[in-house]
Symmetry: D2
């Protein structure tokens, strides 16, 4: 992931795109790409949505939008110095306390 | 990243949340969290947006939303069997051909 | 609708919010509110989503988010001089040609 | 606005699209279109965003996305029986109490 983040940063520098890559713009771009991912599923039933990778064309579209979302997330984190993996690990730790699993702690005894 | 993806999957299984985690719902949840990230920046100037991590409270909010976006992206990829890092690497390869850097290939000579 | 648009404009002027109300920021705010509307439905089945107004609290939340979306849409149109109703009427005209109804024109004869 | 809402409803009925028009799907479609509106502005400076209607092509794109956002908002409200204008009027009333204008009540005296 760090290697991809570096490639994205070099890509932007080489094209002089840094001026556009404010955190505000990158957050907007991320949400635009997330919207394009939602668009693939918007009229599908839950069951149809689970079979989306069986169709070659829609599978390629899903992978393309996933790549775009991850690209803007990594670029956003890069310009702000945020460690996305550490942020997620900390969040999972917090959520494990906030939403204890039913079997943990023998809560029914 | 694979370890976090596994923790998220176990977390959902332990709470019987799998029934809610259709690709359609996870894509929607991802876009909702991307919207919450945009919300932090919506009234800021580009310059203010670049200083958002200097304030302790808004820095924590940014990290929290980044964690949420990444969590839903990883869960989405997990239920569909998409390799996000491979998808992004392939996309960067394509983009390097599509948008050649000005200095590459000595295009001005 | 014109009266509400005027009230929103006066509201913003009285609070000196005009400086924040660039088209870019208002479009972002509109998408943030649309995300909050999606959030109400994100884990619901299609059937549950159709019954959302039966619960007093979620009905109030839906109405609140609808108001926010419409407010930002009207303010966006106001700052750019866009007539939303005329734009929609023109779009429906175009779509009626693009997607002819099956019964119209006896296309099967 | 009521006439446009009726045209949209008839349009959907004539094409048998009612099955897709759950509140959940219409809210998602609304947010997708809001994302497409944001996309127009995502790399623009605040100043450039204010001049977007001066370019014929981007003006048409803005009007098209405004029409789409309004169309899905009206269809969403139609299937749930929400009165968008009444919801917005009520919200402005509440906000006038929540954010009093500086000049009201002579707060500086």
């Amino acid at each position: 992931m760090a290697a991809l983040q570096r490639r994205l940063a070099e890509f932007a520098v080489a094209r002089d795109w840094g001026q556009y890559h404010t955190p505000k713009n990158l957050a907007a771009a991320l949400s635009v790409e997330a919207g394009e991912l939602v668009e693939i599923f918007q009229w599908l039933t839950p069951e149809e949505s689970a079979r989306v990778m069986a169709d070659r064309e829609s599978a390629a579209r899903v992978e393309d939008e996933v790549a775009d979302v991850l690209a803007y997330l990594l670029q956003f984190c890069d310009v702000l110095g945020v460690d996305a993996l550490a942020a997620l690990a900390a969040k999972i730790d917090r959520n494990e306390k906030r939403f204890p699993a039913p079997g943990n702690g023998h809560s029914m005894e």
